[in-house]
């Protein structure tokens, strides 16, 4: 349940360099005893870097084929990499876990606390899931949860790592993930009493008590405009709290995952699952989540839900006419969806083309650098709840430009980006008054809801869509 070593590699000026490494000598000592004659020592930093990059396919990017890197036999099928320390077919360092995110690659080598031969399955090594948890925690700590990279913050946080590791992974045994936000607040002594302080709570909250429940659903959709392919959409909802209720005919919340601070769960909450045949008599709420909150904002629970109709139904058609393409896009807003958006945009990628199109509502913006046609629909659909785009696209020659291999011939898509405040697709909601707080402090309780799009594609119905789904075959 320990790690032998930890590495952090960052991309600087197009090159991957090792920016932090830590070897845990006492764990290595155990590894040697455990593995006996099968022991493989951890090579020095540069060697590890090269081997790791080879496994991740990041070496010699100028060459289209490198045997060591691209061999079809060498197929990575688990989170654990195998570093070929002595060239192919010889001794290997296993299981190396690696997470590649933004400019960073984080990697660690968990201890194998089982007989080395035959190689034990990952499921028998607790250190593997521990390593994954630690790496994910370090990643969030170093890069922040925001999408934008803060390189100054990154280097200052990298400098803090030794003392962070002293707290969370002394001597190679991960105890916690790094605290988010401001550096860990010093431990505040707890008031006397028998109640023990949770270890995941770094101190006591000072200031006004408040419960803020934000309910965000994201909707994914693949619309093919084709009878033989079934359209799909489902939602994810993070940041929920306390009691969730569904409308009387709502479909049950599925695949529920809860934060570890949730103290207990009713078994009925976990029964519905997206991989199962839906059972009409399934439990449909209310969903109660008793928990004790940590100090930072956290994701109490997440769920998925099957919704019978997509919020925006689209149709996309490209027809070839001489050297031009005739485009036709229709978007219909479903009547159950509130016609009040924070934003709503349709993105159509086109390469090396001149666009001449008209729209029934909204504004058009052609972004030459991004080869993108952006159709901004603003805050509202028109009363008819339907908008259209018609026009022609002509291509200027076969000049090589940026291409998307997914996007060729008539394989094309419209991608929708939208956000609807104060609504959820599943109908799931949190009543402000249902939030119960057992505390002497009277907290302010705020709840909110919103719906966001994610991977919302409408494929050209006259072309081949390169994607299909398993549900279709059954």
């Amino acid at each position: 349940m320990s790690l032998r070593a930890l590495w952090i590699i960052s991309r600087e000026n197009g090159e991957n360099v090792s920016t932090f490494s830590r070897r845990f000598s006492t764990v290595e000592h155990r590894a040697k005893k455990l593995a006996g004659s099968a022991y493989v020592a951890v090579p020095e930093e540069n060697t590890v870097l090269q081997l790791l990059l080879t496994e991740l396919g990041l070496t010699e990017s100028d060459k289209s084929y490198v045997a060591l890197r691209d061999d079809c036999l060498h197929c990575r099928r688990s989170p654990a990499l195998e570093l070929r320390v002595d060239g192919p077919g010889k001794r290997t360092l296993w299981p190396v876990l690696a997470i590649s995110q933004g400019p960073l690659i984080l990697a660690c080598l968990p201890l194998v606390d089982a007989p080395p031969e035959p190689r034990p399955p990952l499921a028998n090594l607790l250190s593997v899931s521990q390593g994954l948890t630690l790496l994910a925690g370090l990643e969030t700590y170093l890069l922040g949860s925001g999408s934008k990279l803060d390189s100054e913050g990154l280097s200052s946080r990298l400098a803090m790592l030794p003392s962070v590791l002293l707290q969370i992974c002394p001597l190679g045994t991960p105890l916690d993930v790094p605290p988010l936000g401001a550096p860990a607040t010093p431990i505040v002594p707890t008031p006397a009493g028998n109640q023990k302080q949770p270890s995941w709570k770094t101190g006591l909250h000072r200031g006004r008590a408040m419960v803020n429940v934000a309910l965000i659903e994201t909707v994914r959709s693949m619309q093919y405009g084709n009878q033989s392919r079934q359209d799909l959409w489902d939602g994810v909802l993070p940041n929920v709290m306390v009691t969730l209720t569904l409308p009387p005919n709502g479909s049950p919340l599925q695949d529920i995952l809860v934060h570890p601070c949730v103290t207990s769960l009713d078994s009925s909450i976990l029964t519905a699952s997206s991989v199962d045949n839906c059972d009409g008599s399934a439990f449909s709420g209310p969903y109660k989540f008793p928990f004790s909150p940590p100090l930072e904002t956290f994701r109490l629970c997440s769920y998925t839900s099957q919704v019978p109709v997509p919020p925006i139904l689209g149709s996309y058609q490209l027809k070839e006419e001489e050297n031009q393409l005739h485009v036709s896009v229709i978007l219909k807003l479903h009547e159950s969806v509130k016609n009040s958006f924070e934003y709503c945009e349709a993105h159509l990628p086109f390469f090396n083309s001149v666009v001449d199109v008209r729209v029934s509502a909204g504004q058009l913006d052609v972004s030459k650098e991004k080869n993108l046609l952006v159709w901004s629909l603003g805050q509202k659909f028109p009363k008819s709840r339907e908008v259209t785009m018609e026009g022609k696209i002509s291509f200027f020659g076969p000049t090589p430009g940026p291409t998307d291999p997914l996007y060729s011939d008539l394989t094309a898509y419209v991608k929708l980006h939208f956000k609807v405040p104060d609504m959820t697709l599943s109908g799931c909601c949190v009543d402000q008054h249902s939030v119960q707080v057992y505390s002497s402090a009277k907290p302010r309780i705020v709840t909110s809801r919103e719906l966001q799009s994610k991977e919302y594609f409408i494929w050209n119905s006259t072309g081949t869509a390169p994607v299909s789904s398993g549900q279709m075959m059954l």
Binding site: E45, V275, R299
Partner: protein, 896 residues
């Protein structure tokens, strides 16, 4: 100073070996220690990094126990002097001490320093002086607990007598620190129980005593010696190993109330720990319950739902480990189905990142089933409950990242393999889907997908083939599609070759790889030449070279193709092209030279090589073509094959794969093969050199030092094996003049590794007497006729007046009668004309080819033996004289 240290430390951690090659571990260690001391005086908190070399590589810095012990004492004195406010530095000192003492094995040998350190840690852990202070002691206490836990982990049992104390500390603590105590307490408990399982006759009483910290039991007295130096590493290993492992057990009967109450209390509070510590605690407790059958696994039941609903990968993992340890004693069949479903959900949950999802999929393929059908260890197997319907949630899509896609693809292949084998999905929709997915991927590759997608496609193709190569409908279609793909993207040649190689290597019973190569050969050679570009041609040649390695693929088409592209009339490609292209053409030719059907290819191949020799635009290529041509036309097939194959083995994959250096590397190999290596002496006889154990095609050559004899022709010996009797070689000399001479001999031969050797053999001396031959008289002649001839010749030679080369002489020596007889019998018997028994005068007629004669009349006079000599070649007199001198003096020696 500070900057210098930062640089030195980072240089050390980057490459300890290189760093220490510039200084010694001792010097570096001394520097570190001195600096640590001075740092306390001018405190600089950022300098905790000074301790990192000791934490990370203690063995390098303290190679022996004594250095470790000294360093530890030094560090402890630094710790004692360090003011309490430098918390971080003090914590790191504790970590460094732990690392040094454990890795130098001072701890396992119970050295003084390690005992002191253990006491120090326990003292810190129990300190309650700072309960309302600023929390700095808490940090130190937490680190002390971490150090104690690591000591217990590396030296199991070291704290087993402190179990009661640790339990009390854990229960007393209400701050976050209780987590550190809980982690330590569970590990010590686990190790202590494990040790009890190894004690013969240990039972409930021992367990009770252990938990109560009562050390009065006899088994505990010798525990220190017994366990500290325990070589067996089994205690370090998890006891939960699935169906292959056996769990050591402690028979206590149902009465283990004390243990149960400790476990319940730990479990009740487990929720207060961070997920990582919770998972570790649950794992340790799972081990304990697995080892003590007296405690029912149901003790965990209250935790299960909470853990099953978790979003934390390590907490769900602890459920899987419980499942593995307790199977149906904790989980019903319904539970099992639920957990499996949950794993499928988690394997594709939109909230989770890729690594945990991959982990869950891996767990699906190693699912701890209650009733596993086959206990294959380590292999991927599909749980029975994972139906195609359930697995359909995990079908790969082109939007997946490569690893996820391949993982899902592999999993689905397994699912449909079972379906196909059981003959269920007759319509094979699952398989059809997988194939469709593969073609979607190929479609992306065709439209210029990134390198990553290309590699992913070929990996998916290999996976597909490895499961379904026997389904010809798909494997044939894949071959066709790959040929088409290759034609639009010839730069994919290395990937295709790799795919062919691997399917050939790994899929026994499949000829798919050869089929693909055959199809590619057809496609390349049948395409119209007019559309061929130089770029494509390079890849085609690479591909054809690989095709030519297949003995069962006929190569006529390849030869036709080569012949077309190098002839200016049909193609302009090779005229202007340089060395690289020529090299590629030669690469194909080279493989054809060793193709089993070479006999059929001989003439067209020779034509191509000759054409290259005469017309190719690059001299180097011309030279090599000439070399190949010469090899082809002069060497036997076997030799040619051995010469070229040898080069291949020596050059290995490098030669095969890197076209640019192909000829270079090859030339070296060829040179080695074709060079005759010099060896000082033929060592077959002498000192044992295994290379010369077996010699083949030995070719002996002799040269004369003068012209007395006709030139000798060479002699061939097929083989010479050390363990067999050597063949005898007869040399037939044809003298021009019958004089003694010396022959120089040498040998050329081949050894088993295919190399040729040249060696000088010892000189061969031809003595005068070896030229002697009996009178070449007709068989029918009797003694009288010979005597008659002798007398006639004698008279002839003695006529001095004749102008010829005749001469007479006399040689005298002292010899007894008997000695003389013995001498004649030994030396001259075949040449004797007179009767040996007449004893009067012995007459000897020596014929020396080609046309000389020496006649001897030997008789004993009073004073001496007289050898009267007559010859028709006076130049022989000196030789016969010295010969007689030699033989008579040796006879005299014998006499005396």
């Amino acid at each position: 100073m500070a900057v210098n240290w930062a640089e030195r430390i980072s240089a050390f951690s980057r490459s300890p070996s290189r760093f220490l090659s510039g200084t010694t571990a001792e010097a570096f260690l001394a520097d570190l220690a001195n600096t640590d001391r001075s740092l306390i005086l001018v405190f600089d908190p950022s300098q905790v990094l000074l301790l990192s070399p000791l934490c990370e590589s203690p063995i390098l810095l303290c190679p022996s126990d004594s250095v470790g012990e000294e360093t530890a004492l030094e560090l402890m004195s630094v710790f004692a002097q360090c003011p309490p406010k430098f918390v971080d530095f003090r914590c790191h000192l504790l970590l460094a001490l732990t690392s040094v003492l454990l890795c130098s094995s001072c701890m396992s040998s119970c050295s003084c320093a390690s005992q002191d350190f253990l006491d120090l840690l326990l003292e810190i852990a129990q300190d309650i002086s700072d309960i309302h202070g600023d929390g700095s002691l808490r940090s130190l206490q937490a680190t002390a607990c971490d150090c104690l836990r690591e000591l217990e982990a590396c030296c199991p049992g070291i704290l087993s007598q402190r179990l009661e104390l640790l339990g009390a500390l854990r229960q007393r603590e209400t701050s976050r620190l209780h987590q550190a105590y809980a982690g330590l307490h569970t590990l010590v408990l686990r190790n202590a129980v494990y040790q009890l399982t190894q004690e013969a006759g240990a039972g409930a009483e021992h367990l009770k005593a252990l938990l109560g910290g009562n050390t009065s039991f006899a088994w505990e007295a010798d525990q220190d010696s017994g366990l500290m130096n325990k070589k067996d590493s089994a205690i370090l290993s998890s006891v939960i190993l699935g169906p292959v492992g056996t769990v050591p057990t402690l028979q206590t009967g149902p009465d283990c109330k004390e243990l149960r109450s400790v476990l319940s209390s730990l479990l009740e509070e487990s929720y207060l720990l961070t997920p990582l510590c919770q998972a570790a605690l649950l794992h340790r407790l799972t081990e304990v319950v697995a080892m003590v059958p007296g405690v029912p696994p149901a003790i965990f039941r209250a935790q299960l739902l909470r853990l099953l609903g978790t979003s934390e990968v390590c907490l769900l993992h602890s459920i899987l480990m419980m499942k593995c340890a307790f199977t149906d004693s904790l989980f019903s069949a319904e539970d099992e189905a639920f957990i499996l479903k949950r794993l499928v959900v988690l394997s594709q949950h939109p909230l989770l990142n890729t690594p945990p999802k991959l982990f869950y999929m891996d767990c699906l393929l190693h699912f701890p089933e209650n009733r596993p059908i086959n206990c294959s260890d380590g292999d991927e197997t599909l749980p029975v409950l994972l139906t195609p319907q359930l697995a359909s949630a995990l079908v790969p899509t082109v939007f997946n990242d490569s690893t996820t896609m391949l993982t899902r693809f592999n999993l689905l292949c397994l699912v449909y393999l079972e379906e196909a084998e059981e003959g269920v999905g007759e319509d094979g929709r699952g398989l059809a889907y997988l194939y469709e997915h593969l073609t979607s991927l190929m479609h992306i590759v065709e439209h210029g997908g990134s390198r990553e997608i290309v590699v992913t496609f070929f990996r998916a193709a290999f996976l597909f083939l490895s499961y379904f190569f026997y389904v010809e409908r798909y494997s044939n279609s894949l071959t066709d599609k790959l040929c088409e793909l290759y034609f639009h993207h010839t730069q994919l040649a290395p990937h295709l070759i790799n795919l062919a190689d691997q399917t050939q290597d790994r899929l026994s019973g499949s000829t798919w790889g050869v089929g693909l190569l055959k199809a590619l050969q057809r496609a390349i050679t049948e395409a119209p030449l007019s559309q061929l570009t130089v770029h494509d041609l390079r890849w085609h040649l690479k591909m054809l070279a690989r095709v030519a390695e297949e003995g069962e693929i006929p190569q006529q088409n390849t030869l036709n193709f080569l012949s077309c592209i190098i002839t200016p009339s049909s193609s302009s490609l090779c005229v202007s092209s340089g060395w690289r292209l020529g090299n590629s053409v030669l690469g194909v030719c080279r493989r054809l030279l060793i193709h089993p059907s070479l006999d059929l290819l001989l003439i067209p191949l020779a034509d191509i090589l000759q054409h290259l020799t005469c017309h190719y635009g690059d001299t180097d290529i011309q030279d090599h073509a000439r070399l190949y041509y010469t090899l082809l036309t002069t060497l036997s097939r076997e030799k040619l094959a051995s010469v070229l194959m040898q080069g291949e083995i020596q050059g290995g994959q490098q030669v095969k794969k890197q076209s640019l250096s192909c000829i270079m590397a090859e030339s070296e190999g060829l040179t080695a093969m074709l060079t005759v290596h010099q060896t000082e002496r033929l060592t077959h006889i002498g000192a044992h050199d295994f290379r010369f154990d077996q010699l083949f095609s030995i070719h002996l050559h002799f040269s004369l030092m003068d012209d007395h004899y006709e030139e000798l022709s060479d002699i061939s010996v097929p083989c010479l094996f050390r363990e067999r009797p050597p063949p005898v070689v007869k040399l037939h000399l044809k003298p021009r003049r019958p004089y003694p001479t010396t022959l120089c001999a040498s040998a050329i031969f081949t050894t088993q590794d295919g190399l040729s050797w040249h060696t000088n053999l010892p000189d061969i001396h031809v003595d005068f007497q070896q030229v002697f031959m009996p009178l070449p008289a007709p068989q029918a002649w009797g003694r009288a006729s010979k005597l008659c001839l002798f007398e006639g010749l004698w008279d002839e030679m003695c006529q001095e007046s004749r102008e010829n080369d005749c001469a007479t002489s006399r040689f005298c020596c002292q010899l007894k009668e008997a000695a003389l007889l013995a001498l004649v019998e030994k030396r001259f018997l075949p040449f004797l004309v007179s009767d040996l028994s007449t004893n009067k005068e012995l007459k000897v007629l020596l014929f020396l080819p080609p046309q000389s004669h020496v006649l001897l009349k030997i008789r004993s006079e009073e004073d001496a033996v007289h050898f009267d000599i007559a010859t028709d070649n006076w130049q022989l007199l000196s030789h016969i004289g010295s010969y007689l001198l030699t033989i008579t003096s040796s006879q005299e020696d014998m006499q005396s």
